[in-house]
């Protein structure tokens, strides 16, 4: 994972990984680039196992912009799924903005076992130059926009509270991403958009997780850590999103009973995507007189090929706060209700010349309901 990074980046990440031991976990989805990612932040009420019969509901809104990093030009391969073609240097990325509203339901089946269902609804806009070497009088390509909204991939998971005590908790989880998200949206020219920009991945994904928390100063300061791995199977258009590793770690500080300050460090590593396709390259001036022109075939055989410029490394610092409405206002409407806000600020980014996540924002409300008294 480190070999693609510059030396100074290596030392920073190594130091942080070496010190952290436990870093946090994220529950949000992330997609590879032509690109779209979403915030990946640990929200405690999502990761814990509620008491038996207690339903915890999180309503979360996130805003995630993606732009080019300085020193990159955003030229990436084009993915033509109907033709099963991977065309090198075919697009030039400009930006992606993803907004997501997530409904997360977390239910305590027993004191140790919990069930979690996560339902995302997404709005995504994307802009790139398509058809480099092919479109336009000088092969400069064509400006293309994409906009779609709809259901993303739902996640269903089971969690087990392995080592509960008043002071600490270790929760093992196993989730399955279901291919409920939209995968057939078209861009402004009526062409099917690439898998990495669609709202869903089009295939099942497996997602084991581990979450840990410990009260350093009981009811005043606690630490938490999370690790997550996601594997997505190849979908029916031959595209497979790369494996994804998330590590988060941080602290919560109870300043007054109704106001908690929180800070966490988030690390995400994504392996290259893979596409079962033939291999082509965009025409260049050296191909004159066939420039601008059709892409040039390099290998016509359909093979599993790593998609260059996918895969990424991302490290961020995320401060935030949580307000307990129950502690502020004595009302039936505020019972067991909190609101929270985070801002995820990139520290280190390596996106292989593609779009990289910028500063993102999350706002959420959590409320618990005692559905059954099983104690």
């Amino acid at each position: 994972m480190l070999r693609r990074m510059n030396e100074w980046k290596k030392s920073i990440v190594t130091t942080i990984l070496g010190c952290s031991v436990s870093v946090m976990c994220v529950s949000s989805q992330a997609l590879a680039s032509c690109g779209a990612v979403s915030c990946f932040i640990t929200i405690g009420s999502q990761q814990q196992v509620p008491m038996a019969g207690l339903l915890t509901v999180n309503g979360i809104y996130s805003y995630t912009p993606m732009r080019l990093l300085p020193g990159t030009n955003g030229v990436i391969p084009g993915i033509d799924t109907p033709q099963r073609q991977l065309i090198l240097d075919h697009h030039q990325e400009a930006r992606t903005i993803t907004q997501m509203a997530t409904l997360d339901l977390n239910y305590g089946i027993t004191e140790r076992w919990g069930l979690q269902i996560t339902i995302p609804y997404m709005w995504r806009t994307h802009h790139h130059i398509d058809g480099l070497g092919e479109d336009g009088p000088n092969g400069e390509g064509q400006s293309t926009t994409f906009s779609s909204d709809g259901l993303g991939d739902m996640r269903v998971g089971l969690k087990y509270n392995l080592l509960p005590s008043l002071r600490s908790m270790v929760v093992l989880g196993f989730g399955v991403y279901l291919p409920t998200g939209v995968t057939n949206a078209n861009d402004s020219t009526g062409t099917l958009m690439e898998p990495t920009t669609q709202l869903g991945r089009g295939q099942v994904g497996l997602n084991p997780t581990i979450y840990q928390t410990y009260e350093l100063i009981p009811h005043r300061l606690n630490q938490f850590a999370f690790a997550s791995y996601r594997h997505t199977f190849r979908n029916n258009v031959g595209y497979q999103f790369g494996d994804q590793w998330d590590f988060n770690g941080g602290f919560n500080l109870v300043t007054v009973p109704w106001f908690v300050l929180t800070a966490q460090v988030n690390y995400r590593y994504m392996v290259h995507d893979n596409f079962s396709s033939s291999l082509l390259r965009s025409a260049t001036p050296a191909d004159a007189p066939d420039f601008p022109g059709e892409p040039v075939v390099i290998d016509p055989n359909i093979e599993n090929r790593a998609v260059p410029t996918t895969g990424s490394t991302f490290l961020a610092f995320t401060p935030g706060f949580q307000i307990s409405l129950d502690g502020m206002i004595n009302s039936a409407w505020t019972k067991m209700t909190s609101a929270y806000f985070y801002s995820q600020i990139p520290v280190v980014r390596d996106s292989n010349n593609s779009l990289a996540q910028g500063t993102s924002f999350i706002f959420g409300v959590t409320r618990s309901f005692q559905l059954l008294n099983l104690s």
Partner: protein, 179 residues
């Protein structure tokens, strides 16, 4: 270094201290009908106390904290039943979790509680009784056998009378009849 090795190290780092240090491992809830495990704690006056000292009495072992609203809400009911039944072989042991003496003493003084308050400063007794949420109330009979284990919820005078009466095999008394 391979990613898988890094992951393994991080997971070991996550679980290792918590698994082997004994800091925080919660044990299982005691089974009703089995002997309650003895313990030794210091009360708010600095006097060592043990569960075994109360053999021969019915014990309401209540785990609580000042920041736990349901805990403090049910304590007046515990106080009233303690006042009425302490001469009949009933005692309340309020085990405070992870707080300092000054804060607990202030709370006890403010609300006028007179039952013994024991300080579980390192969470050991809570772990012994499988407590990872508050409040928890454990009723232990005269022979030291666990008769009831109540997690969360609110203890009322009637509830306490009903359990004590069942343990003593007495007619259940009503709160109104004690006025």
């Amino acid at each position: 270094m391979k990613v898988s090795v890094v992951i393994a190290i991080l997971i070991a780092g996550l679980l290792g201290p918590w698994t082997f240090s004994g800091w925080s491992m919660g044990s299982r809830v005691p089974v009703v009908g089995t002997l309650a495990e003895d313990f030794h704690l210091v009360d708010l006056n600095g006097k060592p106390q043990s569960l075994g000292e109360y053999k021969g009495q019915i014990v309401l072992l209540n785990f609580w904290a000042t920041w736990c609203k349901p805990c403090t809400t049910e304590m007046p009911a515990m106080q009233r039943t303690y006042d009425r039944l302490r001469e009949k072989g009933f005692v309340v042991l309020a085990v405070n979790e992870l707080e300092d003496d000054a804060k607990v003493r202030e709370h006890i003084k403010q609300y006028g509680h007179t039952f013994p308050v024991l300080m579980d400063r390192d969470n050991t007794v809570a772990n012994q009784f499988g407590v990872y949420g508050l409040p928890v109330s454990v009723f232990i009979d005269e022979q030291g056998v666990v008769q009831e284990y109540i997690k969360g919820g609110l203890l009322t005078e009637q509830k306490i009378y009903d359990v004590v009466g069942r343990i003593q095999k007495l007619e259940p008394a009503t709160a109104a009849s004690l006025n």
